[in-house]
Amino acid sequence: MTFAFYLFSCIAILATAMVVTSRHPVHGLLYLVVSFLAVASVFYVLGAPFIALLEVIVYAGAIMVLFVFMIMMLNLGPNVASEESQFLRPSVWVGPSLLCLVLFVEMIYVVVSGEPSATAAASEIDPKQVGVALIGKYYLAVEFASMLLLAGIVAAYHLGKRSLPDETTEEAIQ
């Protein structure tokens, strides 16, 4: 059980690392999908099968598909890859990676420090319990989440639409 957990964790870490360092956006995307799948299996190990499923459908499925569409639409071909390479000079990496390392170390210190509190037995939370909570305790939050999606749709719709005839861009005007 825990072996599977550690295996998937390593896969997830490696995949995300590859996403960040990949030159070509499509390669990055694919590594990201692998990372999400690894995380989904971690969920499964942790006893949250419903969430694992959701992760695969929504994250790996919907969001990544959106990204692929975007790359296709903007036909980011190889010329982007070459441009990327000169962006990623080692000097660019040093500062931020040091910063993130410090953050990571702080987090690790937080998690590891002090005696670990009592950990519950590995019990599985099946989708029924989640469903009950969603409808019962959190019904209001779900309503408002729907409002959230509505706002998302309206914003995406407004920003995504083709420009109207009278909408010459500001740069054109100046």
Binding site: G95, P96, L99, C100, L103, E106, V110
Partner: protein
């Protein structure tokens, strides 16, 4: 009749107001009438008051007239009030009398000047201020008069303001006298704080009762008052302004810098004599200041070339005599010398003015000469004045007043041989420089011809003053020459509290011997002057050209180097500091802060690079710091 007292100062003030507001519009004749007239009326009223005062003197020999209460804070109630006693009467008489004569004189003297109205306005204001000073019953009102005369002397010295030298001289006069006034003001604070009042009579009683003889506080107060007197009367430490004050018109020099203002210091000490009597050190200080000044001024007068500067230094010297008299306690002798000095010094100045006027503003004696034929009246009146100044025995007033002082310097209990010796040498020096002036300017060959002869309005005052210089001496004969002591008896009423014991102490025989010595000294001076400056002038020049002689000559001419010394020690450093700090260091400090703030602004605004990743980096740094703070604090 006595309660007309308050009108005496008011008439000149009215004259001043009329001249100030209507000066431009009135014709010159009326201006002269108003100008001289106001002082004339005031002189008439003074004589009436004098007559009433002498015939039936009010009780306590003093008349006190209160107009209104000026300020009242706690127990301190100075009033605008006038106090008339013998001392004040003499002063008022001289001020109005001589003042009137000088006003008449200056009608013609200033006749051609454009600012005729302004001149008379200032002169009237001066007479008003002097009368307030003289008649004030408390020191604060006296201080108004004191500063008023200072202001008028500033206005009149700088009368011809287009000439920068005059303005500097005027400024110098006002500032130096102001230094003296400030010292006196500190004296007043001391008196108010310690004795609670500045009313002269009240002050005297309280000083005697509370302080008693030889008290440190009395000495301090007296010395502070002496500081003020020294400033106004041009005595030792603060005498540098008087020679430069000759930049003003000659009537001004006659009235202000010879007859009246410069003697204000003498009047102050005389008025507060009780305070001075309390401390012998203060008396000694006054005497020493007087003696030193008369010697110093005497030597300087010897080498001057400008006729008015000679007279200026001689005035300083003669006031030195008065201070000496005050220092040794001979109050009435000092005031007698003041009166006679007012007459003959005013005469000398007016006569010199007549000469300058005639020679078209030529003041250098060596450019005159041979004038006794061309200006006979001026010559004879000038000669009488010089005789009085030199103290030629028996025939003129100067001898009697100076002799009284010489005798008091030796005989009175504050006096000493040294003081007498200094005074005697001074007397000799006086006669030398006086007759040097007479011989150079009136005898020898005529280097300059007279343009126009002075008119009657100049000559009449000269003649009157000449008469006074001769006659004035006889009202106060020394004991061994007759028993006419009208003046000292009259003055005694003002000083009886101090007990006029100085006069009667020494034996009569000794006095005769000193009189002879004084007479011989002055005659010898005339002879020396005749030998050096008329018989063979070359010898005087040869004496002056020797190395030590020329250095001494220059040193004396510049008033014993006081001017240069003050300039180097006070004036230059002050100018340098103010110039350096013109832009106010403290302001620099604040603009530095402003600059620093603006610098931090420009540095901080560099952090707003506009790039998202930079902002994200700062969010991370922020979170790292907060995490660190909370975890490890």
């Amino acid at each position: 009749m006595l309660n007309l007292l308050w009108t005496i100062p008011v008439f000149p003030f009215l004259g001043f107001l009329i001249l100030l507001f209507f000066g431009e519009r009135l014709p010159r004749k009326i201006l002269a009438l108003v100008g001289a007239g106001s002082v004339g009326v005031s002189a008439a009223v003074t004589s009436l008051v004098a007559y009433a005062f002498i015939t039936n003197p009010p009780e306590g020999h003093a008349f006190h007239q209160v107009l209104w209460t000026w300020i009242s804070v706690g127990d301190f109630h100075p009033q605008i009030a006038f106090y008339l006693d013998a001392l004040a009467l003499v002063m008022a008489g001289v001020v109005t009398g001589v003042g009137f004569l000088i006003h008449v004189y200056s009608i013609e003297y200033m006749g051609t000047d454009k600012d005729f109205a302004r001149f008379f306005a200032c002169m009237n204001l001066f007479v008003f201020a002097m009368l307030v000073l003289v008649l004030a019953d408390n020191l604060l009102l006296l201080y108004i008069g004191w500063e008023g005369v200072g202001l008028c002397s500033y206005l009149l010295i700088g009368f011809w303001y287009r000439e920068p030298a005059n303005c500097t001289a005027a400024q110098k006069a006002f500032i130096v006298t102001r230094v003296g006034d400030t010292v006196m003001a500190i004296g007043f604070f001391l008196l108010v704080v310690q004795l609670g009042t500045l009313d002269v009579q009240g002050l005297m009683e309280r000083a005697q009762s509370e302080w008693g003889p030889a008290s440190g506080m009395a000495t301090l107060a007296a010395l502070l008052l002496l500081g003020g007197a020294v400033g106004k009367s041009g005595q030792l430490p603060l005498q540098t302004w008087l020679p430069d004050a000759m930049a003003g018109p000659t009537p001004v020099s006659a009235l202000i810098h010879a007859a009246t203002m410069v003697t204000a210091g003498v009047y102050l000490i005389a008025r507060t004599h009780v305070l001075f009597e309390l401390s012998s050190t203060a008396m000694m200080a006054v005497a020493v200041v007087g003696c030193l000044t008369l010697l110093l001024a005497g030597f300087s007068a010897l080498v001057q070339t400008d006729i008015k500067r000679v007279l200026a230094y001689s005035t300083i010297s003669q006031i030195g005599y008065m201070f000496l008299a005050l220092g040794v306690g001979a109050w009435s002798a000092a005031m007698f010398h003041f009166m006679t000095h007012a007459f003959f010094k005013a005469l000398l100045f007016l006569a010199a003015g007549g000469v300058i006027h005639a020679l078209h503003d030529e003041q250098n004696m060596f450019k005159m000469g041979g004038l006794w034929k061309q200006l006979p009246v001026v010559f004879w009146t000038f000669l009488i004045g010089s005789a009085a100044l030199a103290g030629i025995p028996l025939i003129d007033a100067g001898f009697y007043s100076k002799d009284a002082i010489l005798w008091a310097a030796y005989s009175s209990e504050h006096g000493s041989f040294l003081l007498w010796l200094g005074a005697w040498i001074g007397a000799i020096m006086t006669s030398i420089y006086t007759f040097r002036m007479v011989f150079i300017s009136f005898f020898g060959e005529a280097k300059n011809h007279v343009h126009h002869k002075p008119g009657l309005t100049i000559l009449i005052p000269l003649i009157i003053l000449a008469a006074l210089s001769l006659v004035a001496g006889f009202i106060e004969l020394p004991h061994n020459m007759g028993h006419i002591q009208m003046f000292s008896h009259f003055m005694g009423t003002a000083f009886e509290s101090a007990g006029e014991h100085a006069q009667t102490m020494a034996e009569p025989g000794g006095e005769a011997m000193f009189q002879i010595l004084a007479g011989v000294g002055s005659l010898a001076g005339v002879l020396i002057a005749w030998w050096f400056f008329l018989k063979n002038p070359a010898s005087a020049d040869s004496l002056a050209s020797t190395p030590t002689g020329s250095r001494l000559h220059h040193f004396w001419k510049s008033g014993w180097g006081f001017d240069a010394f003050y300039d180097k020690v006070f004036v230059q450093p002050f100018r340098w500091i103010s110039e350096v700090n013109k832009a106010d260091i403290v302001d620099g400090f604040y603009s530095a802060i402003a600059g620093a703030t603006q610098l931090t602004h420009s540095v901080l605004s560099l952090t707003q690079t506009g790039r998202v990743r930079w902002y994200a980096a700062w969010v991370t740094v922020g979170s790292v710091m907060i995490l660190g703070a909370l975890l490890f604090k």
